[in-house]
Amino acid sequence: MNVIIISLIVLGVTGLVAAVLLYIIAQKFKVEEDPRIDQVQEVLPGANCGGCGFAGCRALSEACVKATSLEGLFCPVGGAETMAKVGDILGLAPVATEPKVAVVRCNGTCEARPRTSEYNGARSCQIMHNLYVGETACPFGCLGCGDCVAACNFGALSMDPETGLPVVDEEKCTSCGQCVKACPRNIIELRKKGPKSRRMVVMCVNKDKGAPARKACLNACIGCGKCQTVCAFDAITVENNLAYIDYNKCRLCRKCEDACPTHAIHAVHFPPRKPAEEQPVTETGKEAQA
């Protein structure tokens, strides 16, 4: 009996002393932190993807609390909704940001881009890119090992076995930009989602002159400049034998799509055209997901 009482007393006193000590230390070395940081972090999605440009959600909330305006601070995963909540907590007006989406700018499907060699090494785009031009003759196009798929935290990317190219699931894509960083050939770009997700994209990054580009891939941009001529809004620039559509200037008139001789320019998510033009419609419909 005695033993039990003594041990209870000893343990109790030790516990009490330790608790008092801990309390004093905790008070002495207390870190003053704005409680709003925790509140902001609460409303952020917690994916820690780094899409906002900060190390993680905590870093973004700290930056938000410090900032005097939400300009340039945006969580691509949570979107405008989350930023509105953050604005409420901090008493700042949310800044409207256009939603973006990852776009794979390569249309070198297995059919269009014949294989010239077979790669037998480690399945990684980074390694393949370091070693040589890839399995096809196009030194700019998709390598197809799926580094971007592995980099995506949201399961928004998958490889299409038929085309050998990655496909973006726009519902799931948060435009965090991890795939952009993972791609050694800079094929993936974050582009403005556009009204009703409609947009015009040059699906090629080949900077070669027309002849070798076309030889390597039937769908390549050959830098002919027809789209530039036909564009009424100055949205298209052709540089290094490659056309680029500025999504801020593009008015989605689709003239460039018709002008492009290699069908490198794609109109995404547009409603089907008139029945007379059945052919191109099915094509764009099929590639709308890409």
Binding site: T116, N120, G121, I127, N130, Y132, V133, G134, A137
Partner: protein, 458 residues
């Protein structure tokens, strides 16, 4: 001793196919493409124009910097265009295209086969001739030779080490060169010794070439300061740092150049080129390459001028064998599989190896079993299993800490791995990444230092 101390593997040497085959001179092609990047460093700058007639040995592209090399016309004929060509791995490189017409040489080049022994040249003159001739290390890295001969201030060369090891399996071009042109190589060694102002030179030769050892020993027996060291076989003995360890027992510190321990290493083929450049005024326009493989009809050693389409050389050796699965530029350990044979011969290509289909497939990799074989095989004392994993996880800073920049990419780790893991692929990628990061940091630091200096001056 007689070999390097740490690591190394023993691949089957397979030299029997092309060993002791007389060097055959490849006939002139009709058209030639001369790439302007045939060395480490800046690309050469073309100094000829379209339509210009050139003679063999005429300078057609000037070195684009200190670490760069001149390129001379390997053929006489007309320049048709200056454009880009695709190298064997698909990358675009600038090149000079020419039509070959006749075989008209520059007049001051001595084309006789007589051996010129006498030389009273000053060291500076020798180095100038080597620089002008565009000589690069023909052992594989293609580092401009004249850069090695001008040690940085404060460093003194003590020992010249000649690399006659040829540790790569299959390749035999250096072996044959020693047998056929041993005398010229010895003269070349004496020239290099004079250029560097040193008294001692050793020739390292592996023991699987007893005839070459005997020949070189007989030739240098009467020459003061030059000796042959027969070395036990082990790959990668031909690596600069391994060879220094094997020959003179000194270890090059991490991240340093051989000159740090007073050594200058040159390949026998480079030394032969030095002899030709200095004594015969013949610039580097050709080299001996080995065409080999189990099923090649006429494997052998062929002297080709740079710019000759490799397909022509292969035709000379009996064409591409039917069962070929992979064509490797260089040896099987460090060489790289080639995309096509459209590429011209150049200073970089030391051989073509035709591997049969069944030997050219990689075995499916399995999990690392932590056996540590790669660690004991690594001749640089690194931990390849760790580096490859770090590279997979993109841990660049950790890779830097684990000395990835010391990797010589010899492939011993991958060769020895019982799980057939692509260790070298990942380590090589990591090395490229870390190298890029280090260069970027150095550049940023330089900019910052300049900005600070400018601020202080104000």
């Amino acid at each position: 001793m007689n070999t390097f101390k740490i690591g190394g593997v023993h691949p089957q040497d397979n030299k029997r196919y092309s060993a002791h085959q007389q060097i055959v001179t490849c006939p002139l092609p009709e058209k030639a493409i001369i790439p302007l990047i045939q060395h480490i460093g800046a690309p050469a700058q073309p100094i000829v124009e379209k339509g210009e007639k050139v003679r063999v040995g005429q300078l057609i592209a000037k070195a684009g910097g200190f670490v760069s090399a001149n390129i001379h016309a390997p053929f006489s004929g007309t320049i048709t265009k200056i454009d880009t060509t695709v190298d064997a791995w698909g990358a675009r490189v600038p090149a000079i295209f020419m039509d070959v017409e006749g075989d008209l040489w520059e007049e001051d080049i001595d084309r006789t086969t007589a051996v010129v022994r006498e030389s009273q040249m000053e060291p500076k003159e020798i180095i100038d001739r080597i620089t002008a001739a565009g000589i690069v290390g023909l052992g594989g890295a293609c580092f401009p030779t004249h850069v090695k001969l001008l040690p940085p201030p404060g460093k003194k060369a003590e020992m010249l080490i000649i690399n006659g090891v040829e540790c790569e399996p299959y390749l035999t071009c250096d072996h044959q060169l020693m047998l056929e042109h041993g005398e010229e190589i010895i003269i070349g060694i004496q020239l290099l010794m004079r250029a560097l102002g040193i008294k001692r030179a050793v020739i390292g030769i592996e023991k699987n070439k007893p005839d070459a050892i005997a020949r070189m020993q007989a030739l240098c027996s009467r020459i003061l300061g030059v000796s042959v060291i027969p070395l036990n076989m082990k790959y990668p003995q031909g690596g600069e740092k391994q060879l220094i360890d094997a020959c003179i027992g000194r270890q090059v510190p991490s991240g340093a150049l051989p000159i740090e321990v007073g050594a200058v290493v040159d390949n026998v083929a480079t030394v032969y080129a030095v002899y030709e450049a200095v004594q015969k005024r013949k610039p580097l326009i050709s080299r001996v390459i080995t065409i080999t493989g189990k099923s090649v009809a006429k494997p052998g050693n062929y002297e080709v001028r740079f710019g000759t389409p490799l397909a022509d050389v292969v035709a000379l050796a009996g064409g591409i064998p039917e069962d070929t699965g992979k064509i490797i530029g260089g040896g099987p350990m460090m060489g790289r599989a080639m995309n096509s044979l459209d590429m011209p011969a150049n200073k970089r290509v030391s051989g073509l190896l035709f591997l049969p289909e069944k030997e050219s497939r990689r075995i499916e990799p399995e999990n690392c079993i932590r056996c540590g074989k790669c660690v004991s095989a690594c001749p640089m004392g690194l931990e390849p299993y760790l580096l490859s994993r770090q590279s997979e996880l993109q841990m660049w800073d950790e890779m830097k800490q684990h000395s990835v920049m010391d990797c010589i990419e010899c492939g011993c780790c991958q060769f020895t791995c019982p799980s057939h893991r692509p260790l070298l692929d990942y380590v090589r990628m990591g090395k490229a990444k870390v190298g890029g990061i280090l260069r970027a940091r150095a550049a940023a630091a330089k900019v910052a230092a300049e900005a600070a200096a400018a601020k202080n001056n104000q």
